[in-house]
């Protein structure tokens, strides 16, 4: 394997001017409140929706059906909850949009394949789905699309930061979404990590399992604006195996190290990826312990499920809300014993911390992280 350094990009002058998310537990403030109460969005749902199959833990927005509709029913929620996404002349060269997702409208291609109904086609192909969103949300044509599975949102944040830092944009909108369908639920079920068990991130137990959840989020980045900044963004791609990490955990450490260098001297808490799989969970906890000793670690996918390509931005919005509220939700859905004492099962006050390190991982064993701190 080639040795590989990781870039650390410090964007102290790029602020977080606005943010928001929607999960089955509500908007960012509502989801935070629910997490602090220890609520779970996940319910047992047949993995293939109307076609049945094993019940698996899924979090579906507004109790919608797993099967896709034409047009997709989730757009109404985006339109009603994400005002800043639709206002402000986004999608112009000086106000670009960065759309990130893993699945886009592929649930419609699944529905087309199963039903033969051509009404699904205008929303199914990746470019068609983005074009449909662009028209519906009133954006211009300056729309960049990233799709890197579950670290997709991090790429949008990094490139948006670079556009602003280079003086090529006045502000940038990062929009991320992933809504479940039998396409993705069936895939993770086939991999056997989406099963009848509910996820318990970082818990030492006999078998691992994940849950999946609907999620969408946005962030507006602008120079010298906002009370929070996203700094020291880092990326690392192991290219060891599609679904297995290097056993020594070097990939996790490589993804976190540049952020740790910038965070040195600051007291941070950690928002991990924490899907509920055992091997990746152990490696992640171990890497966090090596790079950020003594920092408390939480994961929220035991409640929300894995929101896939949107998870980095959904959990960013929740981390901001937690910092504003002064309290960080614990690792909902998990119980002792856990992989390390650093795993926080209960909520805790975060007023004494300088910031939070948020990390995500993806197929191909991609790692992404950033430091969120007060401006």
């Amino acid at each position: 394997m080639a040795s590989c350094a990781v870039y650390s990009s410090n964007h102290d002058s790029v602020g977080l001017a606005a943010w928001g998310c929607v999960t089955p537990l509500g908007d960012a403030a509502g989801t935070l409140t629910a997490l602090l109460r220890g609520e779970r969005a996940l319910r047992a749902v047949p993995v293939l929706g109307r076609e049945g199959g094993d019940p698996v833990p899924l979090g579906l927005l507004n109790n919608r059906e797993l099967d896709e509709t034409a047009p997709p029913s989730w757009l109404a929620t985006i339109k009603s909850r994400f005002g800043p996404v639709q206002e402000g002349g986004w999608g112009r060269p000086r106000r670009p949009v960065f759309v990130t997702s893993s699945n886009f409208g592929v649930g419609c291609l699944y529905a087309y394949r199963r039903s033969g109904d051509p009404a699904f086609l205008p929303f199914g192909a990746l470019p068609d789905c983005v074009e449909w969103l662009r028209r519906e949300l009133g954006w211009g044509e300056s729309v960049t699309v990233f799709s890197h599975a579950c670290v997709s949102a991090h790429l949008g944040l990094l490139q948006a930061s670079r556009m602003i830092e280079a003086g090529l944009a006045d502000a940038a909108l990062v929009f991320s979404f992933d809504f479940l369908s039998p396409f993705v639920a069936g895939g993770f079920h086939a991999l056997k990590i989406l099963n009848a068990d509910f996820p318990a991130p970082y818990q030492a137990r006999a078998t691992g399992s994940i849950g999946l959840g609907d999620g969408a989020a946005y962030a507006v980045l602008a120079r010298d604006r906002g009370d929070f900044t996203i700094t020291a963004q880092s990326l690392h791609n192991e290219m060891y195996h599609f679904t297995a990490n290097r056993a020594d955990g070097a990939g996790f450490v490589a993804g976190l190290a540049p952020v740790a260098a910038v965070a040195a001297g600051r007291r941070v808490w950690l928002k991990g990826h924490g899907t509920g799989t055992l091997e990746a969970g152990r490696l992640e906890v171990d890497a966090f312990g090596r790079v950020f000793p003594d920092a408390p670690l939480v994961g929220w996918k035991g409640s929300l499920g894995h929101t896939l390509g949107s998870c980095g931005l959904v959990e960013l919005a929740l981390a901001v809300e937690a910092m504003r509220a002064g309290r960080t939700p614990g690792t909902v859905g998990s119980a002792a014993p856990v992989f390390a004492d650093s795993v926080a099962l209960e909520s805790f006050a975060n007023g004494a911390f300088d910031g939070v390190v948020c990390a995500s991982n993806a197929f191909g064993e991609a790692h992404a992280a950033f430091l969120l701190s007060h401006a």
Partner: protein
Amino acid sequence: MLERFIQELRTDDPGSETPAATRERLKARFAPGSTRRMTLLGMLVGAALGDLPPAGDEPLVYASTFGEGRALEDYLASFPAASPTLFQTSIHPSGVQQGLIGRQRSVGELFPQAGGRQLAVQALLTAMLAPAATVVLAGGEERGTWLVEANAVSDRTFAYAVRLAREPGPRALGRLMLTQEAVTGALAHPAWFERLHRRQPFDGAAAEGWRLQLAWS
């Protein structure tokens, strides 16, 4: 204005070659036995990248409008007994990941990009804003089958890899410039590939607000 110099370039246009013939042509470029589960797009992009692999901490930008068309089609057809292998290979970055995983070559920054008419310029912007002396931009499409009629996958196959540098060096093949101007236009991914493959110059609006100039040495 952003400026980069083309240091190395590989393109592959199979034209009317059958997928089986393309696979046969390329399989010697990979370790024995490793191509059995690779997609056609994975082999094409992997072969192009094999000639100019990202070195050390060199960023990699991957552009594809549709990504893994055939894996997507086959995965959809595998239901209700969903195939785990096709699920993995149907994800968008799979086309660039397959070859890199086969060669166990880690990468720092990897930016898999998708999209429509603006894709070429957006991918170039990502490459040009990466804080590195050199960047590899790779891309490709794979002709699908039953989803072609629905315009849900690509109707042609191609792949390329190009190394861009901040400095011209002694053997630059060409020069790329991106300038923010009040223009409207588009340069679709296949058209961008043709400029590279045939080494044709370009000077004009290539996306909303962006003028692209491509000159060959």
